[in-house]
């Protein structure tokens, strides 16, 4: 019995040896000139931390979507609006993540970009409260984008004043425009719903929700 085991072991060892050919998994690094990489640290750090901001907003919207989907809350229109907002915020995070490599960034410390974002809250008393908090959240994100613009336009400290025209233009043109449009849209919705609530209370929220669901607002 022992002998059989020994023979099997030897055969297994030989087989194992013949299959475990060493793979060449990594390639040697290439020497690439670095003088095209011009972003400076105070600016890149702000851009990096914006990823977390956007994802925290995404998860807060996701929690709003979850809350308004509940059977006892039953506001499918609100839920739809917030689930869409969640995926939109995730896209914003991805837009920032994709901009940085174009400028030669994100060759290291990639894991630190996303640090377990969680929703700011998980339940709301009424639809209008969630809309108001969404507007505040957007205003907060807008302020953060403005902070990046300030840091990238005239970086202090070791940034030695490198004005990052392209990034500043991108943030002002693409991101801020979207923020301002989103904010005014939310403000209008709060206004419409607020007026309906004033006269019709719960019925107002019920009707507003169905309008949201059918894309009539």
């Amino acid at each position: 019995m022992k002998a059989v085991q020994a023979i099997i072991f030897v055969i297994a060892a030989i087989c194992a040896h013949s299959v475990t050919a060493k793979l060449q998994c990594t390639l040697p690094p290439v020497d690439i000139p670095k003088d095209w990489i011009t972003m400076v640290e105070p600016c890149t750090l702000k851009m990096r931390s914006q990823v977390q901001e956007e994802l925290q907003a995404a998860l807060t919207y996701m929690a709003m979507g979850a809350h308004f989907s509940r059977d006892t809350i039953n506001r499918p229109g609100f839920a739809k609006l917030f689930f869409e907002a969640a995926s939109e915020e995730r896209q914003h995070a991805i837009k920032i993540i994709s901009y940085l490599p174009m400028r030669g960034e994100l060759t290291s410390e990639i894991r630190q970009l996303i640090q377990n974002p969680t929703p700011l809250k998980e339940s709301w008393d009424a639809g209008i409260d969630a809309l108001k908090e969404a507007l505040q959240l957007e205003a907060h994100v807008t302020r953060k984008i403005r902070d990046i613009i300030i840091a990238c336009e005239n970086p202090s400290g070791d940034g030695s004043g490198f004005n990052d025209y392209h990034l500043v233009d991108y943030l002002s043109g693409d991101f801020l425009e979207e923020q301002y449009k989103g904010q005014s849209d939310l403000a209008s919705k709060i206004s419409t719903l607020g007026k309906m609530l004033d006269n019709y209370g719960t019925l107002g929220e019920f009707l507003f929700d169905k309008k949201l669901l059918n894309g009539e607002l």
């Binding site: 059977d71 995926s87 994100l106 894991r111 996303i114 969680t118």
Partner: protein
Amino acid sequence: MKFLVVLSAFLAVSFAQYCYNDVVGSCGPRGVELKNCHAKYGAVDAVLFDLQSYVNAHISRSFDYLLMSTHFGNYEQSREGFEKLFRKLSDSTWDDAIDLIKYIAKRGGAMDFAARKPEEEPQDNAVELYELGALARGLDTQKKLAEEAFTIHSGATRRREGYHDPEVSSYLEEHFMHRQAESVRELAGYTSDLKRLLSENKQASLSLFLFDEYLQKVV
């Protein structure tokens, strides 16, 4: 624990939990809460925590995939095909998380973003991986997600003490399991191909380039 289950079953029988009884009480002079007017039935409560954890696992994995994709997008790696592959995994994992949340709500549950099953610690949680390592990590992750669906499924299928909930099982089968099997198979195929390409000749750099180009086309 068993005792509690038996006790709650007893209570359930002695005070029949009907929405209609609540409504009659509420519309009459007594005025009671409508605490039985909800969508919960079957064994959804028994698998609720598992479903919530499953959502949170999807969110975390979606972020992992996004970061792996980012790594392949930088100029040093420059592997557009791998970038695309992991981006696609990130997108589908994110969409699945939202789909699961909607499902939990459909069955009368609430989402809890803090619910997490204790997970087996990964060897490392690096996202800056070389090509074959990333495929292997992707394969392991997809398998783990697929196996967790089996675990929840079995929790909903055990035929004892009212734990049977075929609606949950059927949802998992239709919306997750078949797609997961495809995803696992696809990644296993890529891993086998690339493994062979990296061992049989000394042309690793060209093999990786061509394989990446192939991924750009097929993903």
